[in-house]
Symmetry: D2
Subunit: 340 residues, 4 copies
C-alpha cells in the first residue's frame, strides 16, 4: 500500500485539464483517488460558488467515479496564494519503504446523515470521533501516527457553522486522545483551552454527513512520502512552520523545498482584537471579511517559508490549535526527484 | 547629533493620545520631530481618508509646529498588520556612539512645486535626485551610508501616479549611484531592470512638491540605533527579511527581536500574474484590490519573522527593487533595553 | 421664528469650504446652527472614519460653537448618492407665513448619559421619549405635527447597536403616539408590527447620550419651508416617494423638483431574504455589506424620483417603518426661487 | 411563429431546477430555445465565475442541445436585484395576433471568429452590423421594428473590453440606421455623441465570435408579447422607465405590472464624476467596483417602478445610449393572465 499526491494547477474553477491529462496518460487511476483537496479563487465565504463549480467540473471529468472521492475545497486565494488542487490516491502495491520506517497513510470515512438538531452537539462529536477511528483503522494508523485530520460537517444556519466546526474538532481531539472523552458540549466555543492540534474542520450546507480524511504516517504503508504538523500559537508563529520543515528533515534550500508536495494551514483572526499585544483590524473591517484577512496573512508567511504559494489555507479554527492560532502541516517526499 | 524613534499605537485615525502623552511628559520635543511615518487603517487606495484624518489630528496636536515634520502615511493594515506611527526626531546632542561606529541618521528635504507637465518626467527625477543629495548632505551621509529613502511625490491623475513613483525611484537611484544618470524617461515603467534597492516612493494628489526622507547610518551621528535594508526578489523572499536581521546582528529570539524599533516594506503584485511559476489572483480580483492583497501577504511574512505586526508596508514598487519584488528595512537598537 | 436649510457639497470628508464661504459671507450665523446632517463617502460601517473626520473638520471651522449643533452623519454614498451636508438653522425672526399655515420647525434635545446596562432597555426608550417631547415643546410642535425624528444613541458592542436603535425607535413611537406606552422591552427586535413611521435612529460608540432632532410643521414657525414623510412598505415602494411629493404639492417637473431642499430615507435589507417574493442576495454577500447594498438601491430609487443624488440614506431600520421597509421624508420650499 | 418568454428563479448558480421542471412537464421544448439571458449573483467582474458555473449547469441539463441557444449572463445582483434567467423560445406555430398588429420577434446570429487584431476595429463593427441585419431578416423584422439588440463580443485583454463593446455598439447603430455608416473607428470611446439607443453590448474572453440577439416587434410574428425600449439620459432617468411602460400601455397597478415578463437595463457610472451637477463616488471607490455601484442604483430605480427585482442590469454602456446614460427595455404580455 502506498499513497501518491499530485498537486495540480487550475486556470479557473472550471478548469480540470491538468487532472484530465494525468488520467489520459494513465498516471492516475480514477478508481484509486480517495480525496481531492484544493483552494479555489472565490471569497471563501457563504456566496463563494467556485467550490461548487470546481466540484461539478471534477464530477463531469470523473464521471461514474464522481461520488467516491472526498471533495474538500476552500475558497480564497488571497495574496500570494495560488489556486490549486491536490489529488490523493491510495495504491494497493507496496513500494520501497520510507527511510523513517513510516510512510504517508490516508484514510477516509463518512458518518451517517445528521438530523438538524444533532448539529453542533455531543452526538456529532461522537460520530466524528468514531469516523476518525474508523479511518485510522482502515489505514492502519494509531492515534500517535496521525498528523492532520480534515473534517467537513453539515450546518443549517450561519450560526450553526461554528458549532459544527467545534463538534468536529472535539470529535477529532477525543479520537486522538487530545481531549478528554468526558467533555461537555457546553464547552463548544467557550473553553478554548480544549483543542486538537491536528484537526482542520470546515462546515457547509452542501453536506448532511461528516466527511473525514485522516493523514498520518504508518509502518503499514510504503513509499517516499510522509507528513508532519505543528500547532501554531498565533498568526505570527514562524517557528511552527520552520518546525514542520525540521520534522521532515528539510533544509530551506531549493533542493530541500522541492521535496514538499502539499501544505495545509488552519488559522483564525485573534478574537481578542490583538496579536502579541498589538491591535489588528481584521474583525472590524466592513469591506474585507476577516477570513480573507487571515488567509492572506497566513498564506504570506507559510508561502514565504516554503517558497511556494500552493498552500491550502483555511479559516475558522475553533478548538483547532490554540486560541488565535491554528496548525500547519506539510507532506514531503524523502527525495526531491521522486515523482508522484 | 542623534536620532530617536518612537513607535506608537493609535486606537483609530483620530487618536493621537500616545504622542500627546509623550509631549506632555516632555519625552519628545515637538521642535525636534522631523518626520512621522505610519500605517492607518483605511483601504490604502484613492478614497482612503484615514491618512488625511490622521494628519489633521496630528496637526491639531502639534499646532504651530505642524508644518515642519514630514507626514508619511500609508493606508491599509491588512491581516496581521497593526495601525501605528513612528515619530522620528533629530536631537542636536551627541550621545554614546553606536558600537559599529555608525548610527542612524535622518535627513529630510523638499523640492519646489512641480508643474503638472513635469510630473513623471526626467525633470521630476532630477529634482528628487537633488533633494536626496541635499538630505544626505544635511545629515552628513554618503551614498553608501543610505539604507532607505522615502519619497512622496505629486500626481494629478490616477494614470500619473505610477509615472510619478517611477520618476521618484529613478531620482533616488541616480543619487545613490544605483541607476546611471544617463537614463531616459522613456525607461519609466518600461525597463524593470533599472531600479533602486533603497527607494520607497508613493505619490498623491495632496502634495505638489516632492518630500524626501533619507535614512542611513553615519559616523557623524551617535546613539544605539542603526538601520539595514535588503532588496526583495519577490513577495516570498524570506531570505531578504532574515538578511536584514543578520545585517543588524539580531537573532530571532525575544530579546533579539525586542531590539527592532521600526520596519518598512515595499512590494507589488507580480505583474506577470505568477510568482515563482504559480498563478496568483491579485490582479483579477474585482472585490479586493491588488494592493490590499500584496500588503496582507508581505505583512504576514515580515510580521511572522519579526513577531510584530507594526510594519510600514506599502504597495506600488515600480523601479523600487526587482520586478515583482521590492525592499525591506528595519531600524534596531544595539541594546534591547534602550528606550527611544 | 423660522428655519433655514442649506444643502452643501463637499469635495472630500476634510472639505468644509462650502460652509466656510457662507459663514464668511454671513449668510449663516454659526450661533443659529442647530444641526448638521450629512452623508460622507465611507463604507458606513464600523470602520468608517469619514464621519469622524468630517465632524473634526466642522468643529475646526466652527470653533467654540462646535459643541452646540448636533452632528448627524451617515457614511456610504453608494451608486448615485452624492456626498453632501445639510445645515439646519433656527432663526428667531418671524417671516412671511407658510401658505399652508404651518412651516418647518426644528427642535433638538439631548438626554443624560446612559449607563452601559441601560442601553437597549426600556429605560433608554423612556429617556428618548422624554427628549422627543421636550424637543417638540421647545419647537412648539404637537405630536401630529412631527414628520421626522432623527435619534443618535449610544452603543457599547456591535450586538448592542440594534438594541439601541430599537429602544430609540420605541421612544419616538411612544412620544408620537404610534406605539402604546405599555410596551415591553422584550418586544425589541422581536415584534416588527410595532414601529414608528417617523423615526430614523442610528447608534454609535461615539456618543453616551441620546441626541434627538425633531422635524415637523408648526403654526408657530414661519417661512416657506415644510416637511412631509411617508412609511415605505419595502425597498421598492415608489408610491411612498411619490406620496411625499404629493404631500408637498410638488409636481415632478424641473421647477417642482427645484423646491426640494433635503431628503431623508431609512430602510433595511429584508431579513426574509426576499422582496415581494423574489430572492435578494444582500444578506449573503461576503464582499459587499448588506447596508451598502440597500443604501445603493434606495438611493437609486429616491434620487431617480427627485432627480438629485443628495439624499440622506441610512440603513438599520428596526421598528422604523414596516419590516423590510422604512420611511422617506423631504423638505421643500413653497417657492422654487426661495434661497435658504 | 411566436415567441415565449419564461422568467425563472435560481437558488444559486448551480440550480437549473426551474427549467428542468418545465422541460419535464414539456412546457418548454429544448429544441425551440433560442437564447437564455440572466443575472447571476457574482460580482459581475473579471473573476466572476457564476456565469460560467450557470452556463455549465444549463449545458448539463440541455445536453446535446447545449450548443444551440445563446447564453447571455451578466453577474451582479446588487441591492434589490434578484438572480433569475429568461428563456426565449421561438415556436413555429402562429397563434392569436398581437392587438397592436406586431408581436415580439426574436432573431439570433453569430459572426465568424475574430482574429485578435480585429477586436475593437471597424472590421468587428461591420461584422456585427451584418449579423444584426441577418438576425433581423431571419426574424422578419425591419430596422424600425427593433427595440433591443444584445451583443456579446470577444476580447483578449482588459483594455480591449471597452473597444470591443464600442465596435459592437457601432455595428448595431449602423444596422439600425442610428449611426452613419461612414464612421471611423477613431470615434470609438471618443465621440460619445454617436450611439445606438437600442444596443446592449458586453465582451468577454470566453467567446471568439460575436453573438447577437435582436428583439423587436414584427407583423410576421403572433402572440400577446411585445417589447418597448427607451434611451436613458442618465442614471436618474425615471421618465425613460415610465416611458417604456407607457409605450406598452401599462399602468403602474398590480394588474398592469403583472403584464411585464422581462426587463433589461444598460447603464454606466457617469465618467465626468458628476450626475446632474452633483459629485458621485462610484469611480474612486477602492472597495466596491463602479459597476457594482451603478447596477445597484439602476436596479433600485427600475425595480421600484416595476415592483420586481428580476431585472437584467448590465454595465459598460459605451455608445449604448447617451453618455452617462444607457437604455431600458421591457417585454410585456397584452394580457396579465397569459402564461408564457
Amino acid at each position: 500500500m502506498h499513497a501518491t499526491v499530485h498537486r495540480l494547477a487550475m486556470r479557473d474553477p472550471g478548469d480540470v485539464s491538468a487532472l484530465a491529462a494525468l488520467l489520459a496518460r494513465r498516471e492516475i487511476d480514477p478508481q484509486q483517488i480517495v480525496a481531492i483537496l484544493g483552494k479555489t479563487e472565490g471569497n471563501g465565504l457563504v456566496n463563494d460558488y467556485t467550490r461548487g463549480y470546481f466540484t461539478q467540473s471534477l464530477k463531469l471529468l470523473l464521471g461514474e467515479h464522481a461520488e467516491r472521492p472526498l471533495y474538500i475545497f476552500s475558497g480564497g486565494t488571497e495574496g500570494v496564494l495560488s489556486p490549486h488542487y491536490v489529488v490523493f490516491s491510495a495504491k494497493p502495491q507496496a513500494i520501497a519503504p520510507h527511510p523513517s520506517g513510516k510512510a504517508l497513510a490516508v484514510g477516509c470515512a463518512v458518518t451517517r446523515e445528521l438530523q438538524p438538531d444533532e448539529i453542533g452537539t455531543r452526538a456529532q462529536a461522537d460520530m466524528v470521533s468514531q469516523a476518525v477511528k474508523q479511518a485510522m483503522r482502515s489505514a492502519l494508523m494509531e492515534a500517535g501516527d496521525v498528523r492532520f485530520v480534515q473534517v467537513k460537517g453539515p450546518c443549517v444556519t450561519p450560526a450553526s457553522m461554528a458549532y459544527s466546526r467545534a463538534a468536529g474538532a472535539f470529535g477529532v481531539g477525543v479520537a486522538l486522545g487530545e481531549i478528554d472523552a468526558g467533555f461537555s458540549e457546553n464547552d463548544f466555543l467557550k473553553d478554548a483551552t480544549r483543542y486538537s492540534s491536528r484537526a482542520s474542520v470546515s462546515s457547509g450546507v452542501e453536506v448532511r454527513v461528516n466527511e473525514v480524511m485522516v493523514l498520518g504516517n504508518s509502518a503499514a504503508w510504503s513509499g517516499p512520502l510522509s507528513i508532519a504538523s505543528r500547532p501554531m500559537q498565533d498568526a505570527l508563529d514562524l517557528d511552527a512552520v520552520l518546525g514542520v520543515l525540521a520534522d521532515l528533515g528539510i533544509e530551506r534550500t531549493p533542493a530541500g523545498l522541492a521535496r514538499v508536495r502539499a501544505a495545509m494551514v488552519k488559522g483564525e483572526p485573534d478574537t481578542t482584537g490583538r496579536i502579541r499585544g498589538h491591535r489588528h483590524t481584521m474583525l472590524i473591517d466592513g469591506d474585507m471579511n476577516a477570513q480573507r484577512h487571515i488567509r492572506g496573512a497566513l498564506g504570506g508567511l507559510v508561502a514565504g517559508v516554503l517558497g511556494d504559494g500552493r498552500i491550502f489555507v483555511s479559516g475558522g479554527a475553533e478548538h483547532q490549535g490554540p486560541a488565535g492560532g491554528g496548525l500547519v502541516a506539510a507532506i514531503a517526499a524523502s527525495d526531491s526527484t521522486w515523482r508522484a
